[in-house]
Symmetry: C2
Subunit: 155 residues, 2 copies
């Protein structure tokens, strides 16, 4: 994976979802290691080209850093949900072996999001723009679910 | 923990919940180690006297066998739910450190059961009768939740 940033990609400042994700990554930084880094640098590991992805073996369990990136992705969805609805969903991630996993976001008694993953080893997006788009799609789906069953989400 | 069984306790044959739990324990027995054991013997580790519980240290993470017993307890709740409603909830267990955990049962998009645990190290019941009673209480709560929001449970 090259360290160079594609200059033409979406700026973090132009996407509330990317901003939330960068914020959560910084919140996890207990040693100040990322103080000198830009938001774009912090999100760098989320961007994988097709070749990057193919170079990652899907044997055994995924790298813990990758699982953490997946968790932070969903936490950013939860964070954006809270901004829009006042409800902060909780994440539960059930990792199976070999990179299979099930992620759910729960608000009250409502499963506001449910997604099965495979090949988590290769979790990533072709660009920051695509990462932002995917994140916003998830947030929209969560908000629609809450709107459809508001009383269950507030139980 | 003594191996002797309190003879006056509830027989497994007299409780559908205890029967489900014994069945699930046997289903996990891939080596035939429990073929010669009675259902009462299989459920023995679920029964802890007050003294048994106090003798278990609550420092560090709980024993993996204890966590598995907790999981099977909830799977028995799910199994009994399926018998009564046709819906088989999925278990998600989020273990934190030091014996804290959050267990949820999910049917469709409905969280049919949600319970926070602490001191999981000491998970157990004073008797089989109490274990059965607690299990049935959980099943009744799950069924009431499904009845209150049937359309969400079937999403």
């Amino acid at each position: 994976m090259a360290d160079a940033l594609p200059v033409e990609d979406l700026a973090v400042a132009d996407s509330p979802f990317l901003g939330a994700l960068a914020l959560l990554i910084r919140a996890d930084d207990r040693y100040g290691a990322w103080d000198g880094k830009s938001d774009e640098q912090l999100l760098r590991p989320y961007v994988l080209t097709k070749e990057d992805r193919q170079a990652i073996p899907i044997i055994g369990n995924p790298d813990p850093d990758t699982v953490e990136r997946l968790e932070l992705f969903y936490k950013a969805v939860a964070y954006r949900t809270e901004k829009a609805s006042g409800l902060m969903p909780s994440l539960m991630l059930k990792m199976h072996n070999e990179g299979f996993g099930w992620a759910v976001l729960i608000a009250g008694r409502l499963v506001v999001h449910s997604r099965h993953h495979r090949d988590i080893h290769r979790f990533g997006f072709p660009s920051r723009a695509k990462l932002a788009e995917e994140g916003e799609t998830h947030v929209a789906a969560v908000l629609a679910m809450i709107e459809a069953h508001p009383e269950v989400a507030r139980l």
